[in-house]
Amino acid sequence: MRRRFALAALLLAPAALRADPVLAPEPLAYTQLPDAKQEARAQALMQTLRCVVCQGQSIADSDADLAGDMRAIVRQRIAAGESPEAIRAWMVARYGRWVSYRPTVEPVTWPLWGAPLVLLLIGGFLARQAFRRRRRG
């Protein structure tokens, strides 16, 4: 019961107490672009950019204020004709490679791309050995 009171008090508290920004979010944070093709491109990009506040979510999924602002930036830049990969590069230049969920191909990420191939080769080798033994036996 007391907990319910506390919750009610928190919900009724003035904004300053909850320490949330009071400004309404930028419209493009929560509104799709009028052009469906542009919106699709923005969506695809937003789903592969990491929210820097709730770090396990993409900016498309996160409800953090900063994620909303980043969505607005993505939509504004797409609407202005910028390519999604250029916007991704712009974000990476600010927050590091980590901000992109889609790894680029460069020396640092070679082990990442190479690991499946190496594992497949090891598996193939093991399978070959096993089949050979069976044939012999």
Binding site: A16, V22, L23, E26, L66, I73, A93, R94, G96
Partner: protein, 177 residues
């Protein structure tokens, strides 16, 4: 036969490798602070409305005038910013030029905040949609950037400035003059 005997040890080796990985993660927990990649690069250009009535727009142009500056990202709605305020006043008294960026804020609220906690700022820009904050690679409030006399970002301070941080910040600002 020999390869089979070596292969028998593989699961143990894999197990030990995973054990090592997991225990190293326990000993050194994951760091979630987001370090800006803009350190070492010029301050991005910006034009923001001033939070003070009657003052012109705040731009990044005046930054390369030979004077190092502390660019403080804050908000009147941000609680740690209140804890940081005395340290900013101390920095100002030590002769540091401090520029403020108020994120998602209203001029009236900023005025009230400064009346309560002191006003260390030369100029204050209103960053309504956190455009400058993202352009700086900052992920939260408060954060501070040290800008040298040529307008290059030289250091980032994440989180509130604590009393023990003040001497180090003054040192750095002197060094990057």
């Amino acid at each position: 036969m020999k390869t089979v005997r070596i292969l028998l040890w593989l699961p143990l080796v894999a197990f030990l490798a995973i054990l090592g990985l997991v225990s190293s993660g326990l000993l050194k927990p994951h760091d979630t602070t987001v370090v800006s990649q803009m350190v070492g690069k010029p301050l991005p250009a910006f034009t923001l409305a001033s939070a003070r009535t009657g003052e012109g727009a705040v731009t990044g142009k005046g930054f390369a005038d030979g004077r190092p500056r502390l660019l403080n990202i804050f908000g009147s709605w941000c609680v740690p910013c209140i804890a940081e305020a005395p340290q900013l006043m101390a920095l100002k008294q030590a002769g540091v030029t401090i520029e403020g960026i108020a994120v998602r804020d209203r001029p009236g609220d900023v005025g009230e905040f400064l009346q309560r906690n002191g006003d260390p700022y030369d100029r204050i820009g209103l960053d309504d949609q956190a455009v400058l904050q993202v352009a700086l690679g900052s992920s939260g409030v408060p954060e501070s950037f040290l800008i040298d006399g040529k307008g290059i970002i030289r250091a980032q301070h994440i989180g509130e400035i604590r009393p023990e941080d003040v001497p180090g910040l003054i040192e750095t600002l002197k060094a990057i003059r």
